[in-house]
Amino acid sequence: MAGFILRRLGVLLLTLFISSVIIFALLEVIPGDPALTMLGINATPETLTALRDELGLNANALSRYLSWMGGMLTGDFGLSYTYRTPVVELLADRMAITLPLAIYALIFTVMIALPFGFLAGARAGKWGDRIILFLSQIGIALPNFWFALLLIFIFAIQLGWVSAGGFSGWDKGLWHGLAELTLPAIALAIPQATILLRVLRSALIDITHQDYIRTARAKGLSRDQALWRHGWRNALIPVVTIMGMQFSFLIAGAIIIENVFTLPGLGRLMVQAIGQRDIILVEAIILMMVLIVITVTFITDVIYALIDPRLRRPKS
């Protein structure tokens, strides 16, 4: 197991390294002068030279990449050009909304997907299954930001139960913060939950046809008992894989949802940074998001190996 984790960790670092090169290179090949792009055409020559020095544009690309990466490794992400604050502080602030939001949404996803997926899979072809399948057909086609708008319309404007957006911070207590994140989390979760539900359903249907379930049935267990005792763990394998991928979709989805609910998270910061052409900030946010995505992939791989010992061996 230790060897497996080390190997996966190596893959994580390699992926992160290549991603950082891609991000750096892409913003490096921007046509024209980055300092001019950031400041716009009305910039005075003095501010232009100052920004060029700050960005280190006079050095070559390799040494710029090295100092950028070196800074990242020592926790110095540079200074945001528009906010005039260290990028690290901005990221930490915003992450305190995006990460809890994504985790909260993941919890909703699992809470919806597991019971309904199990019900549909264990009763495949029956009425309950058909209704769940029909609803999931709609859920998959639902654009999450439109669903978010409808939630705002119903719960904030028509019923007036919650505010239409914004986030007053975690200082007011955990419950207050969670209450404000509930609608965004549901909007993020519903489409993903319907996907997860279908994965669990088809995994269960596959399992019902396995020999070991027939054996369990032959020895006298009922369908449900057999599925519950022997099928459950096996059905979890595809579910965990998809969940790992879904977390990265939740993070990406949070970019849009944060903009719908005007939550000051990473996604909103990113949209603003792009609007203000704050390239230092954009680079750092994207790298941070990629880091979250590949860290989650890494955790999924480890959980996967815990459930299924066969995966711990290196592939031959």
Partner: protein
Amino acid sequence: MRVWRISPFLIASAGRRNLISGGVILGIISLAGLISFFWTPADPTIMNISNRMQPPSMAAWLGTDHFGRDILSQIMAATPVTLSVALVGVMIGMIGGIPLGLMAALIHKPFFDHVLTRGGDVLFAFPAIIMAMLLTAGFGAGISIAMLAIGLFNIPVFLRITRAAAMQQRHMTYIHSARLAGKSMPRIACEHILPNIAPVIILQASIQFSLAILAEAGLSYLGLGAQPPTPSWGRMLADSQTMIGLAPHMAIIPGLTIMLTVIGVNLIGEGLRQRLDPYRSRQANYVEMDIS
């Protein structure tokens, strides 16, 4: 004498039924998009402030927006944009991913396979929306950037699925006999393996197409897709947000359009699956949604 038959739609297999209903939905929407090149009920860009936020009526079938623009005309004019961004996005993914996947599976060099799969993994760490933002930060927003971002995201998807499917075919007897007959590996890949794995790829393409429509809508909602005055479903939703209390139809109609389009594509995908993969679909309506 005429023999009366039950409507073929009712006795058709589930696969057929899905294909027909999906085809009808997508057909109507595409047709509306095509018609918009010649005719729309009103000019989708003309503003008429005195007539703003009108609910659906005989004059404006789907109502007007906060500038008094006709919503039906905007929806129609936005259709070709969304569909072409999604289509090109998936095409880029297929053109890039399928040859790479075949190469990874068929070239007997573990190192080469490793580099390609890892490369795919790296690309996969950038969800389409993050890729779009990276590209937009560099090159500015626009339709082609949205296409490219969705396309880049799709490359590793097709790489993986092609590689996995081709790996299964690699050791089949017909491949060995083709080799013995003296065919080169690239020829075998194109003439034998590709036709055999085509169903898997087509199914994946239908799934990616529906995801691409959602991605395009999301990007244009954030202002990273088609730029004004070109209408887009996503931006119509963004515009509707502040007016939602006064004119809910401004939000409901574009959202329903997106959802119907995606349902249409998904139904076609489901129907194709039931046709192309009858063994699995017979097992109690086998449904699997690959989100990758």
